[in-house]
Amino acid sequence: MSTVALLADAVAAASPAAGPLADPGHGAASPADFMAARQQMAFTLGFHIVLASIGIGLPAITLLAEWRSLRTGDPVYAELARRWMKAAGVLFAVGAVSGTVLSFEMGTLWPGFMDKYGQVFGAAFALEGIAFFIEAIFMGIYLYGWDRLSPRAHFATGIPVVVAGLLSASFVLTVNSWMNQPRGFKLVDGKVTDVDPLAAMFNPATPVQAVHLILASLMVCGFIVASVYAVALLRDHRAGRVDRYHRLGFAIPFSLGAVCAPLQVVVGDWAIRFVHDNQPAKFAAMEGVEHTEAGVPFRFAFFEIPNALSLMLKFDAHATLRGMDAIPEDVRPPAEVVKTSFEIMIALGVALLALAAWWALAWWLRRRAAGRAGELGRRRDLPWKPWFLRTAALAGVAAAIAMEAGWTTTEVGRQPWIVYGVMRTEEAVNPNPGLRWGLYIVLAVYTVLAVATISVLRRMRRRPEPALPSGGDAPEPSAPTDEAPAEGTRSREVRSGR
């Protein structure tokens, strides 16, 4: 989570450059409180976004493992499903409460925004609320229904969790898209009229943002879970054996991430074209285009490829692109932060794509070798494993940083607007004094929360599953899931005997 903190700092550090604070003519919030409100929103949202990603992806891979266990009766799949289900239960709860904080912050930090525009995008949140309700209900049934439902019914109750999770993420994303491309209302003498909530929801930015973020969240979840098992496999490797439980625990989530990585490149291309067409200031900041000119080079970190940006965007090496100098000074975003975070996202995205390609190649080679040499082929993949695994162990953190960097890019790139072109962020902030104290407390609480979450997950991982139903004085007599026998009992033979 320290990456989140760093990014929140970065977002905050950038804010003075945004300029609006020079004019305190609006509300009464002091510059320090305004900054604190932005920092708090960035920090809590950055925290929630990682948990929400896992909340979308982890039930999906859990169901995948459970489905395999139902099909094959293989106890290793059942054990993976059980472990992931328990981790998903903990992370879902932390995600639910950290999401609630965001709902409060909408009003406690940005009442000006809610007052004026709450009704325009509110319907999307109502839909999100319904989806989240369904998700929470079925999460309860799925987590605690292991003993009370047939294995097939238990599997089925997980499906609404995944579907509702995807829907609820998409609905939330429509609101952020709306902040980038506000639609579905008219301003007459500063008052909102002619509200069309569906037009607001299906604004032009919605499709690209929703697909981009959902793919990102699947990558984050897949790579994070895989990196846990990559570490375990490295340990296995040193011990000279490969545990099948670890191998499958790695392969399922890693494959999810690896499949999404190339798709994300395509969607990312769609996204940058969309930003170029619709938010010129954000685009100029992301690509570091300072002056409007023809034949713009592609500048990335320390190198520069002449004419490449014009070529990539317009398929014409001499096309003219609008630069930051075409944007009035008082509506320019802090370009340095936007560019740097954009570059971090691109660099890590490319690295993850390379890792996914490595995995695909190794998989293909292994298949070919296995075809030629039968069982022997299985051993061929071992020599590359340690280096692959070391890299894969970092993939989870890399994916999370990439996502935070991407989020920073779009959020800071929209500044100084909270609603693009319509409402400035400082018009929205709560004018009551003392917001910075709220930030300090939130930082403290979330630091403890992050440490506790990680420590709980680590302890859960170490705790061996009970092999037999526990007796009367078990530490958790109240948790029915713990009474389920651990291995093998969910195979077909046993189930048919119920």
Partner: protein, 298 residues
């Protein structure tokens, strides 16, 4: 009936559900903190386990509906009362995460402590804000705010004790059932004695007071007579009428604050369709876990 009235009705419905279900979970956290006995804590954890997250979503429902249907009121209340509301939000964080943490790693006692304390902090803060809004008093630290905070916390504790008697019996823990019965009688009498003079002092002249008092007295009789399922209904009625009375007092200018009809139409349609899925699935959730503990899977 205007769209604003329907929206207000839905918000009150959501608030009532949050108080009756989510509130009882907070009250259970208070008893978890107070009780020294492991078996009581087990009953509480078992009863809350699969349900608390769904119960919590009622709060999200209320907030979303309020900011969509009455944006200026939402903005005004949250901006003015940002301190207690932020504390409540952090209390929700502490309560929820500490609860799942202590289930996942039962050997760590500090999570149970955080769970208990934040279960008291959250309803206090929310109740204080509710009272400050209802009476029009400026601050949550004023007399009405403090009174509302204490009353809400006590109502939650009473509800939890009433519900937990049945849960303890369901889990075949007669000792715990007897203790929760004692807690329910004590907290019921105390909260009744606390609520009625308060209502008089705040100048509430609603017939709801009589209804609440009658339901409260009936509940005490039912508890004494061990009608533990019936008392869930009367106990809930005694508590929820307090909320309705407070809502009656608030006197907010809703029509001026209401969102456009086009917005409310979409929201109502969404809720109508959503209810078709939500109501059966929530019923299933409650029924599934109200049944006696399952036979162990072979």
């Amino acid at each position: 009936m205007s769209y604003a009235d329907i929206a207000l009705g839905l918000i009150l419905l959501g608030l009532s559900a949050y108080l009756l279900f989510g509130g009882a979970d907070f009250g259970a956290g208070l008893w978890h903190l107070v009780s020294r006995r492991r078996t009581d804590k087990d009953v509480i954890e078992h009863a809350m386990g699969p349900l608390w997250e769904a119960n919590h979503v009622w709060l999200i429902f209320v907030m979303v509906l309020t900011w969509t249907a009455f944006p200026p009121i939402f903005a005004d209340v949250t901006a003015r009362h940002w301190v207690p509301l932020s504390l409540a939000a952090l209390g929700i964080v502490g309560r929820g995460s500490a609860f799942v943490f202590s289930k996942a790693v039962p050997d760590r006692s500090r999570y149970r402590w955080v769970f208990g304390v934040s279960s008291v902090l959250t309803p206090y803060c929310l109740g204080a804000v509710a009272a400050a809004v209802a009476t029009g008093e400026g601050s949550w630290l004023g007399a009405a705010g403090v009174y509302g905070g204490v009353l809400t916390t006590a109502l939650c504790a009473y509800l939890a004790a009433v519900y937990l008697i049945w849960d303890a019996r369901r889990l075949a823990d007669d000792g715990a059932a007897l203790r929760f019965r004692g807690y329910a009688l004590l907290s019921g009498a105390a909260v009744g004695l606390f609520a009625l003079p308060g209502a008089a002092a705040l100048g509430v002249h609603s017939p709801l007071i009589l209804l609440s008092a009658a339901a409260g007295l009936t509940s005490l009789v039912l508890i004494v007579r061990r009608a533990y399922l019936a008392v869930r209904v009367t106990g809930a009625l005694a508590v929820v009428t307090v909320l309705w009375g407070a809502a009656e007092m608030a006197g907010l200018d809703l029509d001026a604050a209401a969102a456009h009809d086009a917005v409310l139409q979409v929201v109502f349609a969404a809720l109508g369709v959503g209810a078709l899925i939500l109501v059966p699935s929530m019923t299933w959730l409650f029924v599934l876990f109200q049944r006696a503990a399952p036979k162990q899977r072979p």
